[in-house]
């Protein structure tokens, strides 16, 4: 007997669950969101920040699909900063410090306003199957709800075990219960599972720290936004503070390693190299005299601050001693201790690139349950899982983003083709075609998909369409318009350390000079755009930066585009599920073994498996072509 009937249900309303919930609702599906604690929707369990390198690119991609994270991050930001401004635009990354409480409140309100969707608090203990397909879910209190698709986004909650020194507690997060029954059921479903570990640093009462001994870090002068829906918000500037560990700190920690849950052998899960605990840093990099720590505010209505870089699993008294060894922290008080958490995850090789499990139709997984770390990585997966659950219910083919067009595509492709044994974090260096995967062009890359899926409206579609069209036209037109040498202009060039011009020079060539920034020559360029009949506002910095990037990196972008086209083609060539790798002759033993282990869905995916040589790929291609599936479409059935 079901209490309600839904198209889809989402278990867990963290960063993954929120985007999945949003996408399903926006696609017009009747959606149920279940959370263990309705007051902790979109809780930032770790650092109070969104974005940063590679992660910001994901947030901009979510924005292209009209998702929740970029909007809420802008709304609740208390500091904003663009990292890497001195490097190329492909690695510019916006990061906001956020008010944790406002973030979750705003997100909760956003979800509550989603049409056709409901949020319920409860612990899901059982997934109900009928003939191997999702039928519904039932809660700890016995209530059951019917659904055709289910997305599980339980983060660190599956069999979560918290460690502080020699003490351990069951819990999904400090203060919230773990999901134990659901973890048990997933195991019985035959999904390959493993155990991971992550940690979070102590939270400090800011009033007990002598901030004058720390280095202050402020917001950028100019405010940038993740979301085009956010324009007009004013600059926010709550400072962060930099502090460094010293010899004394290191001694306290290394002398007490035996009490660390991580080093006493209590923790069996694999930690990430990407966010190491302070114990790990000291053990692996013995010679490093000092490590940087950042004190980040958790919100405007609290003195609680987050000490980035100081995650550990030592007993509380040792945490406190180590903390007080830091300059300015002599009298520091902890409001919450650091802790490590172990949790179950499902090996992502159990999933299709749609994030549906290969074994159970209609069952999708997203976020930390798939072995990732980070809010943005979780949100990106949640969005894709939500979209694909929607497509699945309505009988449409899955939506797969290619790694050539998005970080989300890279994330999912890496997960499902390579699997992971440690928490996976996104880096720009994971992108083969980083130059094309920028913040400034995320909308142009993805708007057509978003519109077709019904996730963005005509206005957003038109905005991206115009941006793409106008910039392409202008790039060509400015090649035929010239600036003549003049004393004034050459003076201006000298002002930015650029060589004077001696002959008339076209605007394109000029902008290609690495030292020329369009914003320094805004009058010249905007008046030319005006003459050409384009109304480009001088303060439309986002457009101007986008335009300048395509001009400056024209040659490189073309070079990459060629490679991208190649990759795309091979990513379209599907390898049949029942393909017999043993039937191939002329293939290396290692290549065969790796292929059998990974079962890549496409020739493109096969080529990215370590240990599979190009010659192996060619042989594979030959056999697959012969198997009669010429130019097959990427589909899952």
């Amino acid at each position: 007997m079901y209490l309600g009937k839904y198209d889809a249900a989402v278990i867990g309303l963290g960063h993954a669950g929120c985007e999945a919930f949003y996408a399903l609702s926006k696609m017009g599906l009747k959606t149920l969101g279940v959370t263990i604690n309705i007051d902790n929707i979109a809780q930032m369990s770790c650092n109070p920040a969104i974005g940063g390198l590679a992660k910001s690119q994901i947030v901009f991609e979510i924005e292209a699909f009209g998702g929740a994270m970029p909007l809420i991050a802008d709304k609740t930001a208390i500091q904003t900063k663009t990292l890497n401004l001195r490097k190329g635009p492909a690695v510019w990354s916006l990061r906001t410090q956020n008010d944790k409480w406002r973030y979750k409140n705003e997100m909760r309100l956003f979800l509550e306003k989603c049409p056709n969707a409901e949020i319920k608090q409860g612990i899901v203990e059982n997934i109900i199957f009928e003939n191997g397909e999702i039928k519904g879910i039932s809660f700890h209190n016995g209530a059951s709800y019917e659904c055709k698709a289910l997305i599980i986004t339980t983060g660190t909650f599956l069999n979560g075990l918290i460690h502080i020194g020699d003490k351990s507690y069951e819990g999904g997060r400090l203060g919230d219960p773990a999901c134990v029954k659901l973890a048990q059921q997933l195991k019985t479903l035959g999904l390959k599972m493993g155990r991971l570990k992550t940690g979070t640093p102590p939270r400090i009462d800011k009033r007990t720290v002598d901030l004058s001994k720390l280095i202050e870090e402020r917001s950028d002068e100019t405010r940038r936004y993740f979301s085009r829906r956010s324009s007009g918000l004013s600059r926010v500037d709550m400072p962060c503070h930099l502090v460094r560990t010293n010899e004394n700190t290191h001694k306290i920690i290394t002398d007490n390693l035996k009490y660390s849950a991580l080093y006493s052998g209590k923790i069996s899960g694999t930690g990430t190299r990407y966010c190491p605990s302070i114990e790990d840093k000291l053990v692996k990099f013995k010679d490093k005299e000092s490590h940087r720590l950042f004190l980040e505010p958790e919100g405007t209505d609290t003195y609680e601050t987050y000490l980035q870089g100081f995650s550990m699993s030592l007993p509380e008294e040792i945490q406190l001693a180590a903390l007080r060894s830091l300059p300015g922290f002599e009298k520091a008080e902890m409001m919450r201790p650091a802790y490590a958490i172990e949790y179950d995850y499902v090996h992502p090789s159990e999933l299709y690139a749609s994030l549906m499990t290969k074994k159970y139709k209609g069952l999708f997984l997203a976020g930390q349950i798939n072995g990732t770390s980070g809010y943005e990585e979780a949100a990106g997966q949640g969005l894709i899982a939500g979209i694909n659950a929607g497509l699945h219910i309505t009988g449409r083919p899955p939506f797969i983003l290619s790694r050539t067009e998005s970080y989300i595509g890279i994330l999912i492709d890496d997960l499902v083709t390579k699997d992971t044994d440690e928490p996976y974090r996104m880096f720009t260096s994971r992108a083969e075609f980083r130059l094309n995967l920028r913040e400034d062009n995320a909308d142009v890359r993805l708007y057509k998909y978003a519109y077709d899926l019904g996730l963005i409206d005509k206005t957003a579609f038109d905005a991206a369409f115009e941006k793409e069209k106008i910039s392409a036209e202008l790039v060509n037109k400015i090649k035929n318009h010239y600036i003549s040498p003049s004393f004034e202009f050459n003076e201006k060039l000298a002002g930015v350390n650029s060589c004077p011009i001696t002959v008339k020079t076209d605007y394109f060539k000029l902008l290609k000079r690495p030292e020329i920034n369009i914003l320094d020559f805004i009058d010249e360029y905007c008046s030319l755009f005006g003459e050409l009949g384009y109304d480009v506002k001088k303060n439309d910095v986002e457009f101007l930066n986008y335009f300048q990037t395509i001009v400056k990196y024209d040659g490189y972008i073309k070079k990459q585009q060629y490679l991208i086209d190649q990759v795309k083609k091979y990513d379209m060539m599907r390898i049949p599920d029942d393909f017999n790798y043993d039937a191939m002759v002329n293939i290396s033993t290692e290549g065969r073994q790796k292929l059998k282990q990974h079962i890549p869905p496409t020739i493109g995916a096969a080529s990215r498996i370590s240990g599979v040589s190009m010659a192996d790929v060619m042989t594979l291609f030959m056999y697959v072509s012969l198997a009669g599936k010429k130019n097959p479409k990427y589909d899952e059935k």
């Binding site: 490097k87 190329g88 990430t272 940087r292």
Partner: protein, 468 residues
């Protein structure tokens, strides 16, 4: 990826003195390539693009030198096959030019200069197979035949790839990955304690790695020899038994043998296989002063052939005294690896004395009798040894490029090295530099076949202490 490339290969053996040489091209660029290298007699283009070429039709024209469009290399017939109506199912072209190793190679060179890559053994067949033109069994049969012909070569190739070649490529790769890791760490972790990238040092690394890669590419010439066979020239005075030895080594009566001096007038080349190693064996006209125009021309070609040889078998007749012409041939072959063979030891003359031979210090002469089949096995062993290909020894310590695919990959790597240096010199941001370094790595990866991204991340986290 490599499946899209346009490839070319001679369809007739390069080293036979055939009347016609046929070069086959397959792939999307076939039409462009033949259009770019052919002209009419008046130097006007023979074709103007793919659509203008009548398929399956013999077109008469001239092949032009790719580096100097005004020079004709050869007169030829060209035939174009439009996809899918061709052997491979792709666009294909065949050029019928004049035969002989030199000429056909030059025409092939022109095709390669216009963007085709030299095909690997069996590659045409593979494509025919992929495009459903022939079935897998047929394809494998073809490939087996091609492979078996060069079994020793294949073993060498395999051991090379496993050993020294991948070692050298990997050493270059490791240096580049380390440099890239520094740059990537700077890009991905701007707020961590990481030294800024030393661009000058990166540039030095690039130059050093480029040099190593260029050296590897240079070994392709040797690798090609390994694959196509060393050139062995039999030389000597008239009637010392050159053609008899030629026939004996080939185990067939290929050259005409008479007792009349000067019977062999021209160079005859045949492919020979000793213990699985391929050779091109040439029989030449005997060297002597002659007034016969034809014989004189033949002798000129003998000298030409000697100069091109990888190994010279210098034959001396033990049935008579050593003459001035023998001595002259010693001088002629001084700088070429050679084996001095004293033949007709069954008819040894009292006037013959080994001490009259101007043998280099430590040089030995092998004594044989072609007629009595004496010491021929020893001669064969000596040839193998002299060629540096004796099993388990020879060049196995040196990395050699034998595959055109690998050569093409190295060429691309060199171009990307140059791009990388240009990017540095132009003062562009380092994230652009990573594109060039990554293309080098991906080209090298086509040889050693490994993914790069994981290597870089591994390096970053090994080297730098990073994380929240």
């Amino acid at each position: 990826m490599l499946l899209d490339e346009t490839i070319a290969a001679p369809a007739t053996p390069l080293n036979a003195s055939a009347a016609i040489g046929i070069i086959r091209i397959t792939g999307d660029k076939s039409a462009d390539i033949i259009s770019s290298i052919t002209v009419n007699k008046d130097a006007s283009p023979l074709f103007s693009g793919r659509a203008s070429i009548k398929p399956r039709y013999m077109h008469h024209g001239f092949i032009i030198d790719p580096s100097d469009g005004s020079k004709f290399i050869d007169e030829a017939m060209v035939c174009f096959y439009k996809s899918p109506f061709s052997y491979t199912g792709e666009d294909m072209a065949e050029i019928f030019c004049h035969g002989g190793s030199y000429n056909t190679s030059r025409v092939l060179g022109a095709v390669l200069a216009r963007g085709a890559r030299a095909a690997e053994a069996g590659e045409f067949t593979k494509r025919a197979c992929v495009n459903g033109k022939i079935d897998l069994c047929q394809a494998e049969a073809v490939c087996d035949i091609i492979n078996s012909k060069t079994s020793v070569f294949h073993q060498i190739a395999v051991s090379q790839i496993k050993g020294s070649l991948s070692r050298e490529i990997n050493s270059v790769k490791n240096e580049l990955v380390a440099a890239l890791a520094d740059i990537e760490a700077n890009l991905d972790f701007p707020e961590e304690d990481i030294e800024p990238v030393n661009i000058a040092a990166v540039r030095e690394t690039l130059i050093r790695c480029r040099r190593k890669s260029a050296a590897l590419l240079a070994s392709y010439e040797y690798g090609r020899v390994l694959k196509d066979g060393l050139k062995i020239t039999i030389a000597g005075c008239p009637n010392v038994g050159k053609s008899s030895l030629f026939n004996l080594l080939l185990r067939e009566n290929r050259a005409i043998v008479t007792e009349i001096p000067g019977t062999t007038r021209d160079v005859i080349e045949e492919t020979l296989n000793i213990a699985g190693v391929p050779f091109t064996l040439a029989d030449t006209a005997g060297v002597r002063a002659s007034s016969d125009i034809v014989e004189k021309l033949g002798i000129e070609r003998t000298f030409e052939n000697i100069r091109e040889a990888d190994l010279c078998l210098l034959l001396i007749d033990a049935g008579r005294a050593v003459g001035d012409e023998d001595i002259a041939l010693f001088a002629e072959t001084e700088n070429i690896p050679r084996i001095v063979i004293i033949n007709k030891i069954d008819e040894r003359s009292a006037n013959f004395s080994k001490s009259c031979l101007p043998l280099a210090p430590a040089e030995n002469a092998i004594e044989i009798s072609v007629k009595e089949n004496e010491n021929i096995e020893e001669l064969k062993n000596l040839i193998i040894k002299k060629s540096g290909l004796a099993a388990g020894t020879g060049h196995s310590d040196r990395a050699v490029i034998t595959s055109s695919r690998h050569a093409a990959a190295l060429k691309n790597a060199l171009a990307s090295f140059d791009d990388a240096c240009a990017t540095i010199d132009s003062g562009s941001p380092v994230d652009l530099l990573t594109i060039d370094i990554r293309s080098v790595l991906s080209s090298l990866g086509e040889i050693v076949g490994e993914t790069v991204t994981d290597d870089i991340l591994h390096k970053i986290f090994e080297k730098f202490c990073i994380g929240k």
